[in-house]
Assembly symmetry: C2
Homo-oligomer: 342 residues x 2
């Protein structure tokens, strides 16, 4: 099998033979071969053992016709070496033992060298690149400061980010210190990932849609920009992703990124107009469409491809990650369908 560079070409807005496709959480619980491994290992074990993480990263490449692999890892891995231990609790997601709530908490956090303390991730990258033999490019990733801070402060997932915003509004210096620390570490971490072999990176600011545009500019953008700048300097394409960002897309594009991710809440052509046609766009099918009848899923995909038509630079993806209850056949059929629409 030859080298598939559709994904990288689309990131650079070069013409492609078919729209490239990959899926957020393309490795994960919806796959029986992943569940088989999870039955014997915790999520953190898989993330921390390069052989397991590499194996899981490759599972969807073998099964689904995707045009990129994405490192199997977790946004929160960097919290533990900073001094914020956490675990994944069944049915609840991440639980942080002692959430960050004060100036004192932030003062006690430590910078660290990702090349040392997250070396297992870099080993995973080396292993995956070797196994892939150039079949498809490998995407690395990390979280953006707002999203990371929201976990660190709330102590887990949140519906309203009340504690996060209370700290942000109430102690802006503490907030900026925390986010500055995240920005430094994430910047280094992404550079290390590229040096280890990833061929593109995605910055996940998954929860930033909770902010107003003004708050985004004040509290998130300066830190995310630093990360995007560090990533850009590596020379690989950078994807900048969030959800619920209809009113933030213009500003997210100014923050940086060769490719901007959008979710299903905004039609793809409207989103592309907002971010500007000098950027590539990634998205934006509602992941719940993969739970329903294939015909409706295809109709949704067709509508997105129609809205993207006429210029290079569209990477097909969902607006957020594949849901655990998704049938594998639907993911396979969707990738096949996207490739077939030329």
């Amino acid at each position: 099998m030859g080298v598939n560079d559709r994904f990288l070409r689309a990131c650079r807005r070069e013409p492609v033979d078919a729209t490239p496709v990959w899926f957020m959480r393309q490795a994960g619980r919806y796959m029986p071969e992943y569940r088989a491994i999870r039955a014997r290992h915790t999520l953190l074990d898989i993330c921390r053992q390069p052989e397991l993480a590499a194996q899981v990263t490759l599972q969807p490449v073998d099964r689904i016709d995707v045009d990129a692999a994405i490192l199997f890892s977790d946004l929160l891995l960097l919290l533990a070496p900073m001094g914020i231990p956490f675990d994944f609790v069944k049915g609840e997601g991440p639980v942080i033992e002692r959430p960050v709530r004060s100036a004192d908490d932030v003062d006690h956090l430590r910078q660290f060298e990702p090349r040392d303390e997250l070396s297992h991730v870099l080993e995973t990258i080396t292993l995956v690149r070797k196994e892939l033999e150039g079949r498809v490019p490998l995407i690395g990733f990390a979280g953006a400061p707002f999203t990371l801070a929201s976990y660190a402060i709330e102590g887990g997932p949140s519906s309203n980010y009340a504690k996060t915003k209370a700290l942000m509004y109430g102690e802006p210096k503490v907030w900026h210190k925390l986010c500055d620390m995240f920005a430094s570490i994430v910047g280094d971490y992404l550079v290390a990932q590229v040096e280890a072999g990833v061929q593109a990176v995605q910055i996940f600011d998954s929860w930033v849609g909770a902010l107003s545009p003004d708050d985004y500019r004040e509290f998130a953008l300066p830190h995310t920009s630093r990360i995007l700048e560090a990533a850009r300097a590596t020379g690989v394409p950078v994807i900048h992703f969030g959800t619920g960002t209809a009113t933030l897309l213009e500003t997210m594009a100014t923050a940086g990124g060769d490719v901007i991710g959008a979710d299903w809440r905004i039609p793809l052509d409207d989103a592309w107009r907002l971010i500007g046609h000098d950027r590539a766009i990634q998205g934006n099918l509602d992941p719940t469409l993969l739970l329903g009848p294939p015909e409706r899923m295809m109709d949704g995909a067709e509508d997105i491809l129609r809205r993207a038509a006429g210029r290079p630079g569209h990477i097909f993806n969902l607006g957020h990650g594949i849901l655990p209850e998704t049938p594998v056949e639907n993911v396979q059929a969707l990738a096949h369908f996207v490739h077939g629409q030329r």
Copy 2:
């Protein structure tokens, strides 16, 4: 004290002496006098006992300088008489015993007469109107079909509405039958509330921002329109509210409502342009701003008032409900501040 008609005038886009203000969840856990009652009664007890519900409805009117009272009740009250029993579980919110998941489940639901089975709500309205003695108008409310269906199908709150959308996409006839039932009942219920004495009504489609614009048009709008039409026919002003609706506002306005509610994710002037200046607008301060320093809260309020200036028809409110951890003094200071900016 004279009759305060600022709120009703603003709903009709008539000039006012000061911007009217009220708050979603202005009666609730942030108030010590509410917590004192909750210590002795469950939430459902309070909703179902007219004397208690009336007392709680009036608490913020006595304490905060609001220009409207809103009935203390819950969106989900109508589920039980339909045959969907539920309870509120501490720390988890509503829990529905047997969620609605199939055609058979929907076939077993029953239409009912709100004048009979929710007569306690109508009694509360009579009591509140009597106690208010015309000081401020009383707002009634009900949920919109998408939001009600999401609770009925998920069985409680959700982060991704996977089960709701799976039913919607997979069994559209079942979905429409369920929402049609909600629309009939909610329409009757709002008419009964107006007959009992509410002087305006708000339709809460709190979670509709999870839908794409196309899905909104297909699955939510037809049912919400029916309710808005029934409410409009009563002659009282109708407020149509949702969150995360930046890309839905134009369509929500076509669905109906004299006043459209917006949340903080979109600047108020942008939202007003989208819904059209032939409608009034309600909103849109981030409720988490009430957790932080008063200066920042006032800055946020001032920005909203500035964006609303120059035409009548703005009702100040938050973008969603007051959070339980909000200091009462901040709510008082905010209402005072809004009234002072002329």
